[in-house]
Symmetry: C2
Subunit: 190 residues, 2 copies
DNA sequence: ATTGTTTCTTGAAGTAGTTCAAGTTTTTTG
DNA sequence: CAAAAAACTTGAACTACTTCAAGAAACAAT
């Protein structure tokens, strides 16, 4: 039923049939329409989302009133504001669907009870969050060492399909330059 | 014996006396002299470090030959290159002591066997790596939204003692501006 | 104490990117 | 298929930072 998540989990741990059944019965698939938010600045994040189809983005609104995307979450990614989630503090971020998106949403309460029922899941989440942090380190490395154009070319090489799929101004802000500069890079006027 | 780590772990999970004993017997404290490296670019990270005293930094050498610090690890922080660690690929980073430093170093093998003996530790590492990732998201937010001077003032407000403790050029690169510009910010010539 | 090494400072010149404002194209929606 | 909304483009003026080169200060080691 929740085949996508189950497969992802089983890349890292092995589940008994009984555990799969528990998982299956405690997860709810939910559909989020394009442009809908699942988290806004100031709210406390108490849900984790696993994207099975579509795409979320995490963004902020800066002092100039411009949106800046900090992260995308496509198929097979978990997303939430972990700091708000763990520390019960208001979030600095918005999380929004940028396409019609299907997710498995888990509330903190059900998440904790799921971990009690299937302690092995702690391992799964431990491994993926360590890897996610590792990816975030690489992201900072790229931001520090590459020019705007290099960041764009590199991102496009690694994610050719994804680049086609999203508004270019969102990608520009994710790569930390302006929408106008993105336009110039793409035309080659830089 | 390894009181610092034990305390840190017990902020998140509760250990039985027997589990504490296992932990205690399987951990080794090690001392790293100032400027010594525990990881170099190209090597595969297969050790995790928990800093009990002193300070590590993770850095790269950019195309101009300048060192750029991506992260500091002080007391109570775990550090390694998680991407290299999990994927068995050569690291992009250096990890170096910037003071005489005491760490608990755990090799991948002993780490895995420790997790088998005390599965509860999965939970501990799950929680701290989620929080660490959360912190990394905030770091990217600050890099995106604040000017160089704002980043410096903010960092100094949050970590007044730490700023005193490290070479300013390392902090400059961590905040993503040049050592010269740091100097000008501090004097107020900007 | 003296020498070498590391870190910090200063100013002048340069540049990779931003900002603004306006127009154009593409996509979405009733 | 119109009309509205969203996304993209363009050029000109600007600026927050970098780079370079050289000297000064602080620190460490014999």
């Amino acid at each position: 039923m929740h085949a996508v998540l189950l497969e992802h989990i089983q890349k890292f741990i092995t589940l008994e049939p009984s555990e799969k059944a528990i998982l299956d019965s405690s997860l709810i698939l939910s559909k989020i329409k394009k442009k809908e938010h699942v988290l806004r600045e100031g709210e406390i994040a108490n849900t984790m989302y696993f994207v099975t189809k579509g795409c979320f983005r995490q963004y902020i609104i800066n002092t100039k009133g411009t949106e800046q995307t900090l992260q995308f979450a496509i198929e097979n990614w978990w997303i939430t504001d972990y700091l708000s989630y763990h520390n019960h503090v208001p979030s600095h971020f918005y999380i929004q669907a940028i396409e019609d998106t299907e997710v498995i949403a888990i509330e903190k309460k059900s998440f904790e009870s799921l971990l009690l029922q299937i302690p092995k899941l702690e391992r799964y989440f431990r491994i993926i969050s360590q890897k996610t942090f590792g990816a975030s380190q690489m992201r900072i490395k790229f931001l520090f060492t590459m020019s705007a154009e290099e960041r764009y070319r590199h991102f496009k090489n690694v994610n050719p399909d994804f680049v086609q799929r999203i508004p270019q101004y969102m990608l520009a802000s994710y790569l930390d330059f302006s929408a106008e500069f993105m336009s110039k890079i793409r035309v080659g006027k830089v």
